[in-house]
């Protein structure tokens, strides 16, 4: 059945775009409150050290400095800052302020003062006597026998977690292979570089309720962790996400909100903390640097028999997301592999903390695997494109190392589209061959990677509420955090579509933990799917309730009232009502009722792929050449 949509599938400008081009969109650092003061964090200059003594007396004397927190002034219960639902993999090893810093940028002390510049000056006046310790900076050193153990409270070695996945018997697979290749690849840690740095304003001034404005991808997870740390029920901790200048995974965790909350409680004023770019680079998170030992076995016909990966991850000083990143990494092999074995190791070092970042473990192993796959194709004198086409995973297959069955995959269409571009460019260049310079070396290459829209461990959950106003316009309440990807507009489109009203009739309030319903978080390119389903179901609930209310209003059975082509129709008679007409009928009068839709959605699967012949603006899976050397 072909569905025709009125609002979904059309390229509307996102609803906040005009505010953004006017410079009127409000990001966290743009907010100012009466009597607001500023906080700043003293960060360790050493990758590993012991704090012997801190003397903050000079800083306290500085006029305008209102308070200072040292490690002894804050709870020392370890926690995990990552924005994941509760999990034994979220190892609790981090402290709010520490006297044993484990990376450059680790939080040692905090100040609150009447201006950012005074904060800076106060930080420089805090005298810390450090005993520098030999830092453990790379995987080799951290896993060596004489390495210091960075978290003895977690385990006896720096390898603090191991994730395994397998199917078949890789040894058997390698024996049955005609070609076996093996190599080791290292990837480096890279940084998200959101244009907006981490920022928060914490208002704990009454001591009973904590309100936080912060750039958060996972406000509900952050609320849960924060509420435990400050000892409040979740109803008394409110996280509001203002406009957000990018996330890319780095905002999938708590950053300075805990320190901000404690500073605010200390001075009974709202406290703003904004990272400098330097702090952002040392004190937030990076993508895991990794060492991937990969081995592939292939038959002479070019079929992959076995694939083995042993990946060590440089997790930096704290666990945060790491074991969950590895679990995700283990199940992203885009090939049919009868025998597969994955071993992922989390390793503590004194490197910057590794957290969530685009791809969540996928890029590292994909890089290593694809180089090896390319070599295998070349050894067999096969075209690397054809080799991948031959081995690619197909709908109905089980994703290697997981119980998940792949339900859709348009990689064939994607590769064919890429090939068409390559052929076109090659053809054109042949025509212009005479103009080509000899010193230009040109190569085509390809790599294949598979990612899911939605977490591959089914953690995606969202809910929505839709308040219907007496004129039939709607306010959508969603916990989904828009970090710049446009989810608020997409979700509003879904609501407008189902209700049969125009997009401009829908306003959205999103990601405010007091006023919007729960949602796991914005990550894994999943909002249109996970939150979208919740919004769709909440809008259907609105329609059902309206049918019921119409039945009462007109004294008929609800069953035969249908909502088709954006109109309610009754069993008999000519009457048909638009959504807005229906709402104004049922809202007022003796049988008056308020329509409020709600729904919860738990993702059992990741989103299906976009149709290859989808609308032009749908860019996912549509290769294009943006720039190439000529």
């Amino acid at each position: 059945m072909k569905q025709t949509f009125k609002v979904v599938g059309r390229g509307y400008p996102r609803h906040e775009a005009e505010d953004k081009v006017r410079g009127k969109a409000v990001y966290t650092d743009d907010l100012e409150f009466s009597r607001m003061v500023y906080g700043a964090i003293l960060r360790s200059p050493y990758p590993r050290a012991k704090v012997v003594e801190i003397d903050a007396s000079e800083a306290r004397k500085l006029p305008g400095v209102m308070g200072i927190l040292l490690p002894g002034d804050v709870p020392q219960k370890p926690y995990n800052c990552s924005g994941n639902p509760p999990s034994p993999l979220a190892i609790q090893d981090e402290r709010i302020l520490t006297d044993h810093p484990l990376h450059v940028g680790d939080r040692v002390a905090a100040v609150v003062a009447t201006s950012p510049r005074l904060c800076e000056e106060a930080l420089s006046l805090i005298s810390v006597q450090y005993e520098p310790l030999t830092p453990v900076l790379d995987l080799e050193q951290a896993t060596g026998e004489d390495s210091p153990v960075l978290h003895p409270e977690i385990g006896p070695s720096n390898i603090f977690n191991k994730i395994e996945a397998d199917q078949g018997d890789v040894e058997k697979g390698f024996k049955a292979s005609d070609l076996v290749l093996e190599d080791v690849f290292e990837t480096s840690g890279i940084f998200h570089t959101c244009m907006e740095t981490v920022a928060c304003i914490c208002d704990f001034s009454g001591g009973k309720d904590l309100v936080v404005w912060s750039n958060s991808q996972t406000p509900f997870q952050e609320r849960r962790i924060l509420s435990k740390l400050v000892g409040l029920p979740e109803s008394r901790v409110r996280i509001i996400k203002p406009m957000m200048g990018g996330g890319f995974g780095s905002r999938q965790q708590l950053h300075n909100q805990v320190v901000g909350a404690l500073l605010s409680r200390l001075v009974r004023r709202s406290v703003k903390i904004v990272n400098t770019r330097e702090e952002e680079m040392v004190g937030t998170c990076v993508r895991h640097a990794s060492k991937c030992r990969v081995k592939v076995g292939v038959s002479k016909e070019g079929l992959i028999q076995a694939f083995q990966a042993e990946v060590h991850h440089n997790c930096g000083a704290y666990a945060t997301h790491s074991p969950i990143v590895m679990a995700a990494q283990s199940r992203k092999v885009p090939y049919r592999v009868p025998h597969y074995q994955y071993e992922g190791y989390c390793v503590y070092t004194d490197y910057p903390v590794a957290g969530a970042m685009r791809g969540y473990g996928n890029p590292q192993l994909s890089f290593a695997r694809e180089v090896l796959v390319d070599r295998a194709a070349r050894k067999l004198n096969m075209d690397p494109v054809e080799f991948r086409m031959k081995n690619r995973i197909l709908p109905g297959d089980t994703v290697p190392g997981s119980p998940l069955v792949l339900q859709s995959c348009a990689v064939k269409e994607c590769i064919e589209a890429g090939e068409a571009i390559r052929n076109r460019i090659d053809r054109n260049e042949e025509r212009n061959f005479e103009g080509r310079r000899d010193d230009v070396v040109e190569r085509w290459g390809m790599a294949l990677a598979m990612h899911t829209s939605g977490a591959s461990n089914n953690t995606g959950m969202s809910s929505a509420a839709i308040l219907i106003h007496d004129d039939g316009s709607a306010t959508l309440l969603t916990g989904s955090a828009d970090m710049g990807q446009g989810s608020e507009t997409a979700l509003s489109q879904i609501a407008a579509e189902v209700l049969g009203i125009s997009l401009s009739d829908v306003r959205v309030t999103a990601a405010d933990t007091r006023h919007t319903p729960y949602e796991t978080g914005s990550f894994a390119s999943s909002q249109a799917y996970v939150a979208g389903h919740a919004v769709n179901a909440a809008a259907m609930d609105v329609i059902d309730q309206t049918r019921g209310a119409l039945a009462i209003r007109y004294g008929v059975e609800a069953g035969p009232i249908v909502f088709e082509n954006r109109r309610f129709k009754f069993e008999h008679g000519e009457t048909s009502l638009s959504f807005k007409e229906a709402v104004s009928e049922v809202h007022f009068g003796e049988t008056g009722t308020v329509i409020t839709g709600r729904a919860s959605f738990k993702a059992r699967h990741s989103a299906p792929h976009s149709p290859p012949a989808g609308p032009k603006w749908l860019l996912t899976g549509s290769p294009t050449v943006l720039r190439f050397a000529m």
């Binding site: 953004k20 650092d29 570089t193 200048g245």
Partner: protein
């Protein structure tokens, strides 16, 4: 803390201001903190990202690198002054229409670099547009649409580029 306050005069978006500035204040501090022009974004404070780009006497500059005292006697235009009495500036319209706005944090700076370019050259080619925006980073990596938007705006009736009117 050394105050060394002095008074400067500058015109911002068509309005003349007299401001007390301290040593160490940058133009960015003045615009954001004293004039409440929060559309000017603070991304790196080191002239690397272009988020704080404003136009000073016709040239696009990183406000974070301009000492406040150097703004004395200058004419400054920020994103807040881009909108004219007839609504959005063609560049603003083109950014919205082309989907050139994602997280939006680079948008103000992009717009001001683009405006400085179009004021100097009303019909730049894509190469020139790309070069002119090379100091403005977009981490959402929406460069293609941004360049499309600037090119689109330049093809509209862009002459004269609207004079700055006050929003104060």
């Amino acid at each position: 803390m050394s105050e060394n306050a002095m008074v400067i005069r500058m015109e911002v978006n068509g309005v003349e201001h007299r401001l007390h500035v301290s040593t160490g204040d940058t133009l960015l501090d003045l615009l954001r903190d004293k004039l409440d022009l929060k559309g000017v974004k603070r991304g790196c404070s080191a002239g690397q990202c272009g988020s704080c780009t404003v136009i000073m006497n016709g040239k696009a500059v990183n406000a974070c690198l301009v000492p406040a005292v150097r703004a004395n006697g200058k004419r400054i235009a920020t994103v807040e002054g881009l909108e004219g009495q007839n609504g959005l500036h063609p560049l603003q319209k083109a950014f919205v229409a082309n989907g050139a706005v994602q997280c939006g944090f680079c948008t103000s700076g992009m717009l001001m670099s683009a405006k400085a370019l179009l004021d100097a050259d009303s019909n730049p080619d894509r190469k020139k547009i790309t070069e002119s925006l090379s100091g403005n980073l977009c981490r959402c990596s929406g460069y293609k649409k941004i360049i499309d938007a600037v090119e689109g705006a330049s093809k509209n009736d862009m002459t004269p580029v609207q004079s700055m009117t006050s929003d104060q």
